[in-house]
Symmetry: C2
DNA sequence: CCGGGCTCTGACAACGTTGTCAGGTGGTAT
DNA sequence: ATACCACCTGACAACGTTGTCAGAGCCCGG
């Protein structure tokens, strides 16, 4: 910047004014400075700028996802990117893998780089050890997909309870009474909500709960497949499966195929996935809308950055049941 | 930091030394300083630090992908994150959507934040207007999935030519001679390479090229489906399809299903996708390994950051043909 | 008693930028 | 001619940190 000032024959400060489009510089000088910028191939240094600036804004935010490669997370990511882009803001992204240690490391790394705000999918075991008020250094934060362990923070979540309830009642409407539940790791808030919704759905229909039809902590496609195979091999097997997560649904599909039961046993999965409509039968799902989730979270965060001081908001987004075939197989 | 120094009764510089684990501070003082850090909940400011530091390192890199939500890109992203994490480096991620303007904006945003390096999937129309030597401000850069328009840069790509050739020869080995090619936007380097590989494969088998069997610029599932339907409706329809991209493959599957031809017409797709093994018939693909691609690119970049001054390297990663059923349907 | 080396510490300037404020110029009203 | 204003411009300090260098304190040998 000093070189630009020298070449244009003006002071440092005037160059700064031109770069920041501050008013009150004669157009003649503006041209001279811009010409010098071009000639010297000058590029603004935002780190120095944000250090000195009054608001200290770095125009960057931190994104803490479960796994950037997971389709749900990456769709969230994209939605947030779109909102951020309109504000000239860039996002750091990191994967916690549900590991509180890793989550803490990432959070600290974000804060050390003085991001303006954070959007976080909080790990299940949010014991507060790392993910605490102090760690955040007062950085505005929005939780997404799951609420924070403490209530002091904005959150945008899906109505998991309602979605699961509707899945169960949909199956009951097609004559099923023996409905199994296969769920992800029980410590994950969403997994637990969906299990509760399943129980509520059964209760609402007056169906007694059979603990033998519930399988939890299925953290891989293979685990889900094995659990489903075991369920189907029972003396009184379920006539329908409700799977509480993406990969669990895929594991269940594997199992049904392997037993040749995909046209006999009904299936409803929570969370939509690519090609669900191309399978045979096509898979009925309770669809979430990660794009809306991400956009809403980002808009909430930027509202905070703009000075919104309202009490924390808890936004809940509805789900949609998408009937495609597998969920409409009648009970024999 | 000033406050920490005051509380510990030492100078600013000593606090700096403790924070950076520099040798030559008595353990007594280290304890006093760390205690003060804890008490005041001090968090290091990396932006100020990197401003002053000799090496100017920000411990962050920029990732320019086609679309963070696309499974190929996000798997790349994750692989890069893993390597970066071991180095305490965070990644900014952005989506170019194949738009050179957007690509340029992101590149400038990365550079303005003084990232240590860039990993870029260069947009097809890399006319150099934005994506030029000057833009990069000398930031070390590695291209991935596609080479840079100019050769001055490291790149990690897949052997598209070979993969496409093998797909064609695989189909020929099953008796096919009328093999259609359906490809993504022709300006994309990978799409073009795969088309060339298709032509080379035909030539190697002595099969004359029929231009009526080639469809390009299919940028959506729907476009691919329409193109495939048109091909299948021809007087002399192809007995096999080779699809040059993920979404194009899915479009072709739609078309085959709609005509009830999925067990009659063979199909090989370039790039693997989730559930390809669960379709009926399961889909034979030429699989890329985005994880290896990403890891290699990241390792290359960090070697450069560590001072590697060798001439630019062009790493090429092999593909794997995964036979699953659709590619082994014999010509009638 | 002095000199020399070693270990530890702090004063100061600097990184690249912006906020503050003072000052210079030229025009217009008194 | 003087006062005043609007409009531009630049000198200087500051943001939070680290590199440089000087110096304090101590021990040891001559």
């Amino acid at each position: 910047m000093r070189d630009v000032a020298a070449l244009a024959g003006v002071s440092l400060k005037t160059v700064s004014r031109v770069i920041n489009r501050e008013p009150g510089v004669s157009s003649q000088l503006v041209d001279r400075v811009l010409e010098a910028v071009r000639l010297l191939d000058y590029h603004h240094n935002m780190t120095a700028s944000s250090l000195r600036r009054a608001d200290q804004k770095t125009a960057s935010i931190g994104l803490l996802l479960e796994d950037v490669a997971n389709p749900f997370s990456s769709t969230l990511h994209r939605a947030i990117e779109e909102v951020a882009r309109q504000r000239g803001t860039l996002a750091f992204a990191g994967s916690s893998d549900e590991d509180p240690v890793r989550e803490g490391e990432l959070l600290r790394a974000f804060v050390a780089r003085r991001v303006d705000g954070l959007i976080v999918v909080p790990s299940s075991r949010a014991d507060g050890g790392f993910w605490s008020e102090r760690e955040r250094l007062g950085t505005p934060t929005v939780c997404v997909d799951r609420p924070a362990a403490f209530r002091e923070v904005d959150s945008v979540t899906v109505d998991n309870l309602d979605g699961a309830r509707r899945a169960v009642r949909h199956l009951v409407a097609h004559g099923h009474r023996r409905i199994a539940f296969l769920g992800d790791l029980g410590t994950i808030w969403t997994a637990e909500q969906r299990r509760l919704g399943y129980l509520e759905g059964l209760a609402a229909e007056g169906i007694p709960h059979d603990a033998g039809l519930v399988r939890q902590d299925l953290t891989s496609i293979e685990a889900a497949e094995h659990a489903a195979l075991a369920l189907l091999a029972q003396r009184e097997p379920p006539s329908a499966l409700f799977t509480g997560q993406n990969l669990v649904t895929i594991g269940a599909i594997h199992a049904l195929r392997r037993r040749g039961l995909q046209r006999r046993v009904a299936l409803v999965g929570f969370d939509d996935f690519l090609l669900a409509d191309m399978l045979d039968p096509a898979v009925t799902v309770v669809a979430q809308d990660p794009t809306t989730l991400g956009r809403t979270a980002a808009e909430l965060l930027f509202a905070r950055l703009d000075g919104d001081r309202d009490p924390p908001r808890q936004v809940v987004v509805a789900t949609t049941l998408v009937p495609r075939g597998s969920g409409e197989i009648p009970a024999s």
